[in-house]
Subunit: 514 residues, 2 copies
Amino acid sequence: MNGAESLVRTLVQGGVDVCFTNPGTSEMHFVAALDRVEGMRCVLGLFEGVVTGAADGYYRMKRTPASTLLHLGPGLANGIANLHNAKKAASGIVNIVGQHATYHIDYNAPLTSDIEGLARPMSAWVRTSPDAKSVARDGAAAIAAAKGMPPQIATLILPADTAWNEADGIAEVPAEQQRPSYSPHAVEAAARALRSGEPTLLLLSGNALTEHGLALAQRIAGKSGCKVMAQTYNARMARGQGRYWVERVPYVVEAALPILKPFRHIVLVEAMDPVAFFAYPDKPSLLKPEGCDAHRLTDVGENSEAALEALAGALGAKAQDAQPQKLVDIAKPSGALTLDTIAQAIAVAIPENAIVIDESITTGRGFFPPTAAAAPHDWLQNLGGSIGFSPPVAVGAAVACPDRKVICMVGDGSAMYTLQALWTQARENLDVTTVVFANRKYQILRGEFDGVGAGEPGKRAQDMLTLDRPDLDWVSLAKGMGVPARAVTTADELNAALEAGVRGSGPSLVEVRM
Amino acid sequence: MNGAESLVRTLVQGGVDVCFTNPGTSEMHFVAALDRVEGMRCVLGLFEGVVTGAADGYYRMKRTPASTLLHLGPGLANGIANLHNAKKAASGIVNIVGQHATYHIDYNAPLTSDIEGLARPMSAWVRTSPDAKSVARDGAAAIAAAKGMPPQIATLILPADTAWNEADGIAEVPAEQQRPSYSPHAVEAAARALRSGEPTLLLLSGNALTEHGLALAQRIAGKSGCKVMAQTYNARMARGQGRYWVERVPYVVEAALPILKPFRHIVLVEAMDPVAFFAYPDKPSLLKPEGCDAHRLTDVGENSEAALEALAGALGAKAQDAQPQKLVDIAKPSGALTLDTIAQAIAVAIPENAIVIDESITTGRGFFPPTAAAAPHDWLQNLGGSIGFSPPVAVGAAVACPDRKVICMVGDGSAMYTLQALWTQARENLDVTTVVFANRKYQILRGEFDGVGAGEPGKRAQDMLTLDRPDLDWVSLAKGMGVPARAVTTADELNAALEAGVRGSGPSLVEVRM
């Protein structure tokens, strides 16, 4: 058994049985091992941003890591942006990067670069395997690191000779760390704030946003009178009818400040102390008002459901304390495409148990209230701000959950970064309906231009903010990668296209021409 | 004048008057400054790999740097692969990366990452500007670094508040370093080797591959009896009728070894001591035979033309020593598409003064002999091995040389990495004819799989090496980005499509269905 085979067998035995890959010469022995080892599903992406984003989406839905397979430093580099997003979402990934044979590195052949240097900014764990006999053990350590609490990106660098030389066999993955816990002192402090009678915000993210976590928050709110919100962006959130639904802290600073202003306490459940996405002249970076105290109930990697349960217990909050919520009425829209009719059409179309990947940016700012009344679903967002997030994440989510419909909502500017994901969706016949909001602009930047005090863009500046001349034709782009697509220009057409996408199985794309 | 404007004015005054860009919020003041400053051409790419590759192509043709504008760490990350290729080609680039406002960085907002850490592996010079009054001076230093000998990638990181705060005005670029030179001792040593009567190879790369450099090499060969070759991959090479043409050291180790075996000396003119692109079990990394001495005439950044002139002088080699060369006959091919008919069609189609970007990988291995008989042209290759190189480089070359036809030859696997470049070609109406060789495989990996001793790929391995199910449809992909395209399946159709591409102006694409 060579090193590559010892690694693939270690991965499979360690529960890492999906590999998103874009391999090259230095990874050929790993690829060859796939023919000899049963139980590893290998999914090809035609660009590495697809590979790493898919691993992120897979983790979010399975709560267990997939592996990647990338080709030396440049292959890793192409995957870094979506590793950044995965890191911010606390997704565990066994990130495998090929390297030249150990003895070849010093010759500075064309593909030579500082792979560890490239890996470190996005990886909590980096190791270059020294020889074939170490590869299985290093792979097992990478799995343990990726499954850690908090979950991490573990980058294992694999020189080619460690893959082709003889190995000793597979390695055991170290026993899982004990279940994540929480601090009883943090529960007491949070309970004190909630009992203080002063205005308090319970701010949720991470695993607090499961159906159960949200139900606990609803009881706590009913009992204590606190307000509950979610962080601006969240890795995964249980939503739809029957689930407690909460608004998120707005992205726009001017909108967030008045919402946060009344609070004297913020209890953070995996959430960050609210901070502006960007800095703007004469606007604060920290969004909570002066004199407001932050109390951390749980950090990423702790057990937020258990902590919320303990907090509810400390407050004496019971199921019957939960207050009923009013949902927005949803109905199939008609007429022109507007932000409202699009939001309604999406809310009506979401099928039960769907996975919604939201990279709708400006178009989707109003999607949250109506979709709270949609059928029960999971809602995934981008915590890292690097666009080109959603089409790859849709790949990973669909591989993780073949029985669930994935709806990927993405702005045209974002979709262009990783459009290659459509091909993988076609090849694997993944059940993904992609909705591209084609406003032919980096629309968010039009607002940001003003937001940073740059005034009104002139002709040359505008050219840098628009995707027109020529207009992108998403129907052709999708067709070119084997994904059937249609463009819509009215709400009725959008309803019909979404219905067809949801009814069918396999990938499809809807271009919403705005 | 704010910091952003002071930087844009410093760039323009320093001769950096093209900016390839994909900006975000933190770069909006730079974008706004474009409206106030005359003389900066800004070219938008819809993915950062397009931006950095374009800057590489621009440098190769202009021999002076362009700037980029990238959005924080992830924006830089998406550009790293083509920065890697640019670094290996010794292209100078003023690589500008936005950053959060200095006071905002510690809040760990979503887009926060270690930008300097990401920049270092591919940048010879990295600086984060501390305040608005430093930005112009730092920009001037970046220009000087990018124009250095050897040229370099200079990464200037620009926190948003350094862009919007008040600056002191523009800064002077430090006077250019003295002209690159060469070592007379190296000339003597090379002359000794060439006079030794022992078999000697003159191995060229970099600026030795100008029309003049090649002519000098031809005289030296005629006088001394040495063989002249070029490195396997080269940044730019003068080729076609009337130019001395040389073969390159083959990529395949088994082909390179017998060619290099006879030599007792290799004189390196900017070239690297020949090294295998990858390591393979039981094959050498260094390709020259045992007992063969390498003599370095010039390194990257030295004046290879002057050194070759001195070497010719030392040997007494004159223009009349140059031996005439036999060129391969070229004629418009007919019949089926084969590697030979494709090569002939390309050779016939290249118009005078064209710029040929070669990322044809396996399809193009036989292109060199016939194209030596084509009309005079420049031939650009990838020195870094990171695929997705050529469509962006074609953008930069076309922006640098609006009066020259650019022919971009690319395999389908490579083209998928940076297909967004087609949109920029359409928007800027760049005169680029892209030829996609659609064999629906990572064909090179089929050979490499065997080359590394992995045998014959089985079903699962083959799936990782093929781009089929579904087949990519390049005509649709190009149409989706506003580039007219046609597919060809015979040599006659290829002739016609290339003729149409060359005759027209503006971008077009030919899918060669193999």
